[in-house]
């Protein structure tokens, strides 16, 4: 596929439409990007803005999907903050260096997923309950995590059990929180929630909320004075617009810490890839089209390898923004690229206005985004199946009870266990001495089949094994079948073979071609699919 196809719109009207979608996207992304870098990642605000400019631009150019939109991401930003908190004090120069190293390492890990095909295939094993569980867990986690900034309290500098810290933070906000900060946060929250009720303004809700919070904060500053309200503002954006080149930290002294953050880098990479693959899968399904998720992985990997040198947060695909582009009727690639350019212009001219946004308003934004991540409509289907609900709950709870790395590991193990469990439990039925196997006959399912087989032998003395409906038999399965046959207690039937032969012969007759030379010891996939 031509990578740049789809970037050229049909006609001027489409161009204008996409520019408008780009403007919407830019304005919607701006407060989120700042909130991600300041409240979640513990980095200066320009990191988020650069991710929303350069990250969006790179991913738009690298991914051919018509709806794809990458950019700064809530979960990944939180993962940066969580990984680095024990390593260096936030906002310091060392912290920034470590953050860039972390992002670069994550990009390199993602590149590994592009280069080593089987690794990339592993991501296909991650099923929806796991991704939804992770996303919901992180949503809850984000709401709790933003509590301290919401109450204008300093952020705790060590990470322990997140739920307990959340409870402590809640009590601390109640008892010693800065009341002015709480008021600003509340106004932002309530305004956003109110605006969201109007369908037409839904996408602008966060922006309006932040504007209301900022206006109230300015009112407070004017009446009470900033020195009395003690409200932290974003401030210092004057230089944004020019790229601040940056270098990841790879010095000899930092090596111990870099090794310590390696699991964090793997987590970051996997979280990004999970989300990209899940978002692309979901968009494919909603739109009835197909774009290979490997394209998304490639876009993520390349942009995350380049972005650390441009002082930017890591990026991955965002389902919400993709859905927004789709619902506004935009062409993903052009709208994303347009949003990046428009954002650059906005930031160049509005830096002074952005600088006065108060931090509690940013925390309120994070709370809203966290709440958005818990979508009951997406979760509900998982509770209709017991196995899916267990997988979902395990994945959800692991975020809240373990750290993110633990959650990702639990998610991956669950995914593999889930797929193996599916295969390992073939549908076996025993009627009389007829043992009928449907599903896979392989090392994982053999113990179950053998148990049934021996039960039949004990009861009936002999058994007929019918494996006509096995789709796959591995070497161990073949060895077992052979041993069963040699023991002379079992007869094997494969009715398919006869059917196959008839069908093939019928076709051969109609084609006028002879296919009788084909070996049929191993069933052929293509033939099977035709039955």
């Amino acid at each position: 596929m031509n990578t740049f196809s789809g970037a050229i719109p049909q006609g001027l009207a489409a161009l204008r439409g996409n520019l408008l979608v780009g403007l919407t996207l830019a304005v919607v992304t701006l407060p989120q990007a700042i909130a991600f870098s300041t409240t979640l990642a513990g980095l200066p605000p320009h990191f988020g803005i650069y991710a929303a400019i350069w990250g969006v631009l790179f991913t738009a150019l690298l991914n051919p999907s018509r709806v794809f939109s990458g950019g700064p991401n809530t979960t990944m930003s939180a993962a940066v903050g969580i990984t680095l908190l024990p390593v260096a004090p936030q906002f310091g120069s060392d912290y920034i260096g470590y953050a860039l190293t972390l992002i670069l390492l994550a990009g390199l890990v993602q590149m590994l997923f592009v280069l080593v095909r089987p690794l990339g295939r592993m991501l296909d094993l991650i099923n929806e309950p796991i991704v939804n569980g992770l996303i919901c867990g992180i949503g809850v986690f984000l709401i709790f995590k933003s509590l301290t900034s919401f109450g204008g309290l300093p952020i705790n500098t060590q990470v322990e059990w997140p739920l307990w810290i959340a409870w402590q933070s809640f009590l601390a906000v109640l008892e010693i929180g800065n009341l002015y900060a709480i008021q600003i946060g509340m106004i932002t929250l309530v305004t956003s929630l109110a605006v969201r009720q109007v369908a037409r303004l839904r996408n602008w809700a966060i922006l309006v909320g932040v504007a209301a919070g900022t206006a109230y904060s300015e009112y407070l500053s004017a009446t009470v004075g900033l020195q009395n309200t003690l409200i932290e503002q974003i401030a210092n954006l004057s230089y944004v617009g020019f790229v601040l080149p940056s270098m990841p930290l790879f010095s000899q002294e930092a090596m111990a810490d870099i090794i310590a953050i390696l699991p964090g880098a793997v987590t970051l990479a996997l979280l990004g890839l999970f989300q990209t693959v899940a978002a692309m899968r979901r968009m494919n399904r909603k739109m009835g089209s197909f774009t290979d998720s490997r394209r998304g992985i490639f876009a993520d990997a390349v942009s995350n390898c380049v972005l650390p040198f441009l002082s930017s947060l890591p990026t991955c695909a965002s389902f919400n923004r993709m859905w927004l582009i789709h619902s506004l009727g935009g062409n993903g690639r052009l709208a994303s690229a347009a949003s990046a350019v428009i954002l650059l212009v906005l930031v160049l001219f509005l830096a002074q206005w952005i600088a006065i946004i108060p931090m509690p308003a940013m925390a309120a934004v994070i709370m809203l985004l966290g709440a958005n991540m818990i979508n009951w409509e997406d979760i509900k289907p998982h509770f209709k199946d017991r196995r899916e609900s267990i997988v979902f709950l395990a994945s959800f709870l692991s975020v809240l009870f373990l750290d993110l790395f633990g959650a990702v590991i639990v998610g991956s193990v669950l995914a593999i266990a889930y797929s193996k469990w599916e295969q390992a439990h073939p549908n076996i039925s025993l009627s009389g001495n007829q043992l009928k196997i449907r599903g896979n006959l392989y090392y994982g399912s053999l113990p179950m089949i053998e148990a049934m087989y021996h039960r039949a032998i004990a009861r009936e003395g002999s058994v007929v094994i019918d494996f006509s409906e096995c789709f796959y038999i591995d070497r161990e399965g073949i060895r077992w079948l052979k041993a069963a046959k040699e023991a002379q207690q079992a007869a094997l039937t494969d009715r398919r073979r006869l059917d196959d032969r008839r069908e093939v012969e019928r076709r051969a007759a109609s084609d006028g071609k002879r296919r009788t030379g084909r070996r049929r010891d191993k069933p052929d996939r293509r033939q099977r699919s035709e039955f």
Partner: protein
């Protein structure tokens, strides 16, 4: 229409919840302000200590300690009513973290206990005598973890992590490790009050910022300072039984009488966590130093370095709660050990005693 009203109801519910939470916060803030304005009821130790230091509100302050020791004292800026209450609250927290001695709903320690987990450990167990241990002549004692001396060393590099540690951050570590609890927010009044108290002690003792005083920490006892016989569990257990068990109990569970901790636990659920700076396995020189300087009370200095190391080594093998940073597996294992080990060791002890009693004398 039904959908619209349902949505409106949901929105109204959300706004009401937020409003309710805001008013709850306002209430809590007012409660706290009231508590901070009300008079503090001091514990006996704190009352004696603060009276001896002549703490009272006024425009100037002159330390009676310095007058007594040197015959003269610099005139310092005084304390406001609010400062005095903060210092008093700080002393109460150090002397009685658990609030055992508090009366009237322990209002002045309005949130200290929330951060302490099932523990009988109080600050004063390590920071001896409410953080300012002195002998009969009023000389400050070495290795008693004097809070004033540690305040003047605040904002120094932490030798374990290499980070600059403020006094508040150090206190947060105490909550996590030494009292096996949870970390308060760094801007919590609790930490500010203890800082105020530590700072007052530093002023009363005329300690100078940045100076290192011998009573600040513990003088460590490395293996090189002993007869190099190696630390021994059996020897440690023997000395512990002889010298320590009468107070701390044969299993190290401490002694609690009438709801008050008479002797703190050195093992079991109520003890400090494995993450503590006193984690003997990691820092096996600090605990021996503490034992030699401060134990047993009244007969300090009666144990030699090797004996202290042996006791510390024995104590390090007793089950204690795992710290949060050690992860859930370690926590579960330690909890299990705390259930399994005490009866086992008690049984082994009884067997041994039985054997000894049967042995010919």
């Amino acid at each position: 229409m039904g959908v619209l009203s349902a949505r409106f109801l949901r929105f109204a519910l959300l706004v009401c919840t937020l409003g309710g939470l805001y008013f709850l916060a306002v209430q809590k803030h007012e409660d706290r302000d009231r508590m901070r304005l009300s008079a503090v009821e001091l514990t006996p130790t704190c009352k004696a200590k603060l009276d001896a230091y002549g703490l009272s509100a006024g425009s100037t302050y002159r330390s009676p300690y310095l007058v007594r020791v040197s015959g003269m004292a610099p005139v310092m800026e005084g304390y406001s009513e609010e400062d005095v209450r903060a210092i008093q609250r700080g002393c109460n927290i150090i002397d009685d973290l658990q609030g055992f001695m508090a009366q009237g709903g322990n209002a002045e320690r309005w949130n200290a206990q929330r951060f302490v987990r099932g523990s009988h450990t109080t600050c004063t167990h390590c920071h001896q005598d409410a953080g300012d241990k002195q002998d009969a002549e009023g000389n400050r004692l070495k290795g008693s973890n004097n809070l004033g001396a540690s305040w003047v060393m605040a904002d120094m590099y932490d030798r374990f992590t290499g980070l600059i540690l403020s006094h508040e951050l150090r206190q947060m570590q105490c909550y996590i490790n030494s009292s096996n609890g949870f970390k308060p927010n760094i801007s919590d009044d609790l930490l500010r009050d203890v800082t105020a108290y530590s700072r007052f002690i530093a002023a009363a003792l005329d300690l100078k910022i940045g100076n290192r005083y011998p009573e600040q920490g513990m003088d460590e006892i490395p293996a090189a300072a002993t007869g190099r016989r190696g630390d021994d569990y059996v020897r440690g257990a023997f000395i512990y039984r002889e010298r320590c068990a009468s107070c701390h109990g044969p299993q190290g569970f401490g002694l609690v009488a009438d709801g008050r901790v008479v002797y703190p636990a050195v093992a079991g659920r109520n003890s400090f966590s494995l993450d503590s700076r006193m984690n003997f396995a990691a820092v096996n020189t600090i605990m021996p130093g503490f034992i030699c300087r401060n134990m047993p009370p009244g007969a300090e200095g009666s144990l030699d370095g090797q004996q202290c190391r042996d006791i510390a080594y024995f104590l390090s093998t007793l089950p204690r709660p795992a710290g949060d940073l050690q992860g859930p597996l370690a926590a579960v294992w330690q909890q299990l050990m705390m259930i399994v080990m005490p009866p086992l060791t008690a049984y082994a002890d009884s067997l041994q005693r039985g054997d000894l009693s049967r042995a010919p004398h």
